[in-house]
Amino acid sequence: MKEIKERLGDKLLKIYEHTPNRIYLDIKREDLKEVVEYFFLDRNLRFVTASGIDGRKEMEILYHFSEDSTGKIYSLRVKVPKDDLKIDSLTSLIKGAEFIEREIFEMLGIEFTGHPNLTRLLLAEDWPEGIYPLRRDEKGIRDLKERNWEKKNG
């Protein structure tokens, strides 16, 4: 943990240990690629997945990295403001990030700049534009059906 603090310096906003094997780090959106390079390439950790969360005030993405030699999970928390839902894509660095970035894109509407194929992963092709199921203010399918109905029938 000391090593991480020294290496990241002021890029690290907060570091917090929930239990000895679960470590959460807050970083800035601009520094994401650099910090991930340090964890994925220099420390040689395994990319597990990313969790996109609608945290009321802003969107959060947690990138989970697993250190298999010690059993620790480092979760990098990046906050994305709701009026500018954009973040750098990691797919060019980690091939395994392609699916999860597409999933967060369709579920929360966060755009990943530099993603080679930012299309829907799980939702149907005829799912309407601009409806993001995992957002907190999304009313659900009832609301959606009404909107579709209005669109079709004027």
Binding site: H18, Y24, T49, I73, S75, I94, K95, G96, I100, M107
Partner: protein, 395 residues
């Protein structure tokens, strides 16, 4: 040579699961593959936000019928991590026993299917016949052949009846004998060897790039196993070894799974020995779930299952993220498939032991007036659509 695209799916004719691959072929050679998932998306993560902490255990058990205790173990680990709760020792052994029995039945299922995909139906018939006693063991110990629902955050719901243990030992002993015979028969067969050796190789570099887990990674010599690396339940209380192979081809994926079955049989026996000595409670009380975050993992038969939960102190999670092993193992076919023969494509795609119900998790059907559509409503909707099409095309 001209390129052609062969679609497999959206419903796999052989594997009977919703998966969709677009294979680009040049003659008999596969040059590219495109993967589509989402045909059967069910919205489990969204549903979890509307259920209580206890109910979610049974919801996640229904993510998958084959590994119906893997998701609950990972979820309970996550909630216990969030609450910083330690479960009783007896409950730890019971969780390990159920988890390992599940690995035995799941690997046997895959082994049989792999034989079926190769056109070697004897393997399929034999292995599935031997899998039945394992399901009987489940029924005797937990009350169900599938969806055992043994877990709750804090421990296990039921204690095991130790009267069955001698019979379980006898059945597992017979399974071991049968498997020894089968593994010799498979590994001696020149046809099987020529179909599997050197085919669909996954390199350790690709394991890292795609983040592959479980037997898929271990067959390539990457020694990762959550049970060893980040022990939970009783995995640090019993003696066992992680099975790995080196070549990363299809043969090694078969071998690594057979080795794991033998290891799991040993672990189940050890757990039964321990359960005969360790007595006591099987449930720790969790009064309330504090605000915070928790991460739980479990080494499912197909690899690491990852659950992330967040609480605001209320009665249900405000976010529940599930990452099933197939989600990261499936894209590895982009590395293993190109360059292979079309005839090998089916077994290469099946070599990761894909589980689509785990990979696709978001389905609530509702209409304007009613809350949910019933079966009759759906049939009616289908009739209406047929009628509409008939009118449109004048037939």
């Amino acid at each position: 040579m001209a390129k052609a695209v062969i679609p497999i799916g959206p419903y796999h004719p052989l594997q009977e699961e919703p998966e969709h691959f677009l294979l680009t072929v040049e003659g008999e050679k596969v040059v590219d593959v495109e993967v589509h998932i989402g045909y059967n998306h069910r919205g489990i993560e969204k549903l979890a936000e509307h259920k209580s902490w206890q109910q979610v255990t049974f919801l996640v058990a229904r993510i998958c019928g084959i590994c119906s205790t893997s998701h609950p173990i990972a979820y309970c680990n996550a909630v216990e991590n969030l609450c910083r709760v330690e479960i009783p020792e007896r409950a730890k052994y019971i969780r390990t026993l159920v988890g390992e029995l599940e690995r035995i039945h799941s690997h046997l299922l895959w082994l049989g299917l792999a034989g079926h995909f190769l056109g070697y139906n004897t393997v399929w018939m034999w292995v599935w016949k031997w899998r039945e006693p394992v399901l009987d063991i489940f029924e005797a110990l937990t009350g169900n052949r599938n969806h055992y629902d043994m877990l709750l955050p804090g421990g296990v719901r039921r204690d095991l009846n130790e009267e069955y243990f001698p019979w379980v030992r006898k059945e597992l002993g017979e399974l071991k004998k049968n498997l020894e015979m089968l593994s010799k028969a498979i590994l001696d067969d020149p046809v099987i060897i020529s179909r599997l050796k050197g085919i669909g190789v996954l390199t350790p570099e690709d394991v890292k790039n795609y983040g592959a887990v479980g037997p898929t990674a271990r067959a390539s010599g990457v020694k990762i196993d959550v049970r060893k690396d980040d022990p939970y339940a009783a995995y640090d209380l019993i003696q066992w070894e992680v099975a790995t192979c080196e070549n990363g081809d299809l043969l090694d994926k078969v071998v690594v799974r057979i080795l794991e079955i033998f290891e799991s049989i040993k672990m189940v026996e050890e757990c039964m020995d321990a359960l005969e000595k360790v007595k006591g409670e099987v449930m720790a009380t969790i009064k309330e779930v504090p605000p915070g975050e928790g991460i739980g993992r479990h080494e499912a038969p197909r690899g690491e299952t990852f659950h992330y939960v967040r609480s605001d102190g209320g009665s249900s999670p405000i976010r529940h993220k599930v990452r099933a092993p197939t989600y990261v193992n499936l894209p590895t076919c982009k590395a293993t498939l190109p360059g292979s023969q079309l005839a090998d494509a089916i077994i290469i795609l099946a070599s990761i032991d894909p589980c689509y119900c785990c990979t696709e998790r978001v389905a609530v059907v509702s209409d304007k007036k009613k809350e949910y559509l019933t079966q009759e409503d759906l049939i009616k909707l289908s009739w209406e659509k047929t009628e509409k099409l008939r009118r449109k095309y004048g037939k």
